[in-house]
Amino acid sequence: MSASAATVETLDISPVGRVEGDLDVRVEIDKGTVTNAWTHAELFRGFEVILKDKDPQAGLVVTPRACGICGASHLSCAAWALDTAWGTTVPRNAILARNLGQLVETIQSIPRHHYGLFMIDYTNQNYAASPFYAEAVKRYSPFTGTSYETGVTISGRPVEIYALLGGQWPHSSFMVPGGVMCAPTLTDVTRAWSILEHFRQNWIESLWLGCSMERYEEIQTLDQFEAWLEESQRHANSDLGMFWRMSKDIGLHHYGKGHGRFITWGYLPHEDRYNKPTIESRSSAVIMKAGIYDGATDKFGPMEHVFTREDMTHSWYDEKGQFHPFDRTTKPIAKNTVDPEGKYSWNTAVRHAESGALEAGPLARRLIAGNTGQAFQHHDGLVLDMYRKMGGASILLRHFARMHEICILYREAERILREFRLNDEWYIKPTEKDGRGWGATEAARGALCHWIEVKNGKIANYQIVSPTTWNCGPRSGDGQRGPIEEALIGTPIKNKHDPVEVGHVCRSYDSCLVCSVHAHDGQTGEELARFRTA
């Protein structure tokens, strides 16, 4: 496969991540560096197949259960898809309640991913020579690390607010076409305030930042961030300071680059701008902007669902060519043999009709947050400034972007608690009818959307494209690699029997897939190592 085949070894990583299913990664290594990569999803459950011919509202029950990690995001898409198909009216309280549900789910996900999945790798023997290593082991060892225990345990608190709205997290279905099921009272709002406050005091400020949120929020540029780091020992030794400094020490700003093109659907429709939801008016109604960004040309562009294509050339489906999700049939093929030259994944290759493969996730959201927009829309230029000054994407920047969102999402949650008008309506009963709908959002880990077609009072077609589909997909018919496949190129491998570096790249996408690596000798095919990366 490579000109220098004599030196190339193949490393198979199986499994690689969780929720859409198990992801395996195969990499080719030449002189200690990854030169080629394939990602393949290894679990098929067939939610699109299950939903066909069911009640139009079946997606509200089924799709949150496609992913126990991003259930609020799936529910939000399922509800908005029906809203657009049925032409409902959604009261402002309901828009706020849906947004709050999503916000607290993502706020939960941030420390849970950071400590539970990401920082564990910093305790790997690979980094024993780092001056930060002893401290990393003390803080981040699974279950017993000082920060691990606090961070993982406190991550359960934000979703208590979800339970106040929907009864439980995960897997409530409280968002329905026409609004929400709940009608929160004053005590629900005051409890939610108290939970946020507890989370701020006991994690965000004390452990994560080492300063007040207000001080951190003053930071607008990379220079200001670096000045903040040096300003006080409390900043430098906070979990954020520790993450930044150790990541640089172990070189995580040098690889994991990827295609350098990004997508976000935008999310959080404004409570007064999307009460008559339509597919066409969505992008101009969301607080967090939709769009694409091309790092090479430093240019932004719009993003609408009509640009979406799924390419099944290398996927285990009997569908030839590229399709818009409305035109898909989801026909799995029985024989799912892994063939890197042919079909090798349950994931489809998602593409933008003009811009090809795009990376989804917090980094995409943060870059596009730096673009100009309408006055009511959120703007934040810090990560875009870092991207421009640090030579593009990397493991460090991708994970920083995720963590940087904590204060932004927290403030939006606070705003919602102020905006609820408790005596106004929460639900307007809609009239069911046939039609096509589209619901989109940003899950913690990136762009998510649902397409629904209702015909004769039942689901004729239901399609989901998740952030994991964008990021973990295989090559398209033209040979272009999927985003993680591309991001793995150039990854240095110090110990091919324990290639933790591949894990860093995959986990920086928070891909919701349990990953492990099978390492093969490129000549003999002998398996050298096998490990999990998420």
Partner: protein
Amino acid sequence: MANLLWLQGGACSGNTMSFLNAEEPSACDLVTDFGINILWHPSLGLELGDNVKAILEKCISGEIPLDIFVFEGTVINAPNGTGEWNRFCGRPMKDWVKDLSAASQFVVAIGDCATYGGIPAMAPNPSESQGLQFLKRAKGGSLGAGFKAKSGLPVINIPGCPAHPDWVTQIVVAVATGRAGDLTLDEFHRPKTFFSSFTQTGCTRNMHFAYKVSTTAFGQRKGCLFYDLGCRGPMTHSPCNRILWNRHSSKTRAGMPCLGCTEPEFPFFDLNPGTVFKTQTVMGVPKDMPTGVDKVGYIKLTAAAKGMAPAWAEEDIFVV
């Protein structure tokens, strides 16, 4: 000290996420205070790849004594009974499940998928999914009706979509502290201590149920969800209103109808057109009665209740 291994099949990780919300004990407390040695978990374990496979093989051979095997997600048999649509460490997951179950003192199925098949097993069940010892109401499942773990107990089923973290942690603590002998299971292998009472037990809408005052549409501040919105609280076994969710609430308290997710039939009616969030009725009488109530009794009772409902029951009660 007890060795615990947790694997996932056709799963969404929702039970893992729910488990991480646990308090008293928290997931970390289980390890540090109760001596639970988590051999491996797909989202939490430190070991990777070859080391994981080695752990599984040592559990099967007996070199590592396996005390508790927790399985989340369905056992996938597609295509054509081979299980190749869910491979793990290069082998169908269903084969790992069989070998590990035989080697374990206790086997715990967590969540609807692992207990009864859940959503993936809904018609047309494209992944040919089963629960560990049941498929919906039918006993058998992947391990067979006669399966018993080394302790002598069959698969302990902790259903729910997802299971409440306490239902899981309390069973694990019972095993770790030598109280497993007190566990009694019902006909669907659910621990009776959790699943004898009803979802309705402790529901804040019970007075409205008694007077047949209905929540006629979502977003209202009164009424019972059973009469119009399809709530299955009166015929579902769970402690959702005794042991609250995320410390604060439950679906029915928040205004969401119970979907019956701790019962083997979930999702009910296969979510066929017209069945979602709507009470199924014949001539105005619910098709599914509260457990143990007959149709004639129901009609008499509700007619009398409605006739004597006090005025306050028709007014908002969960007010700002």
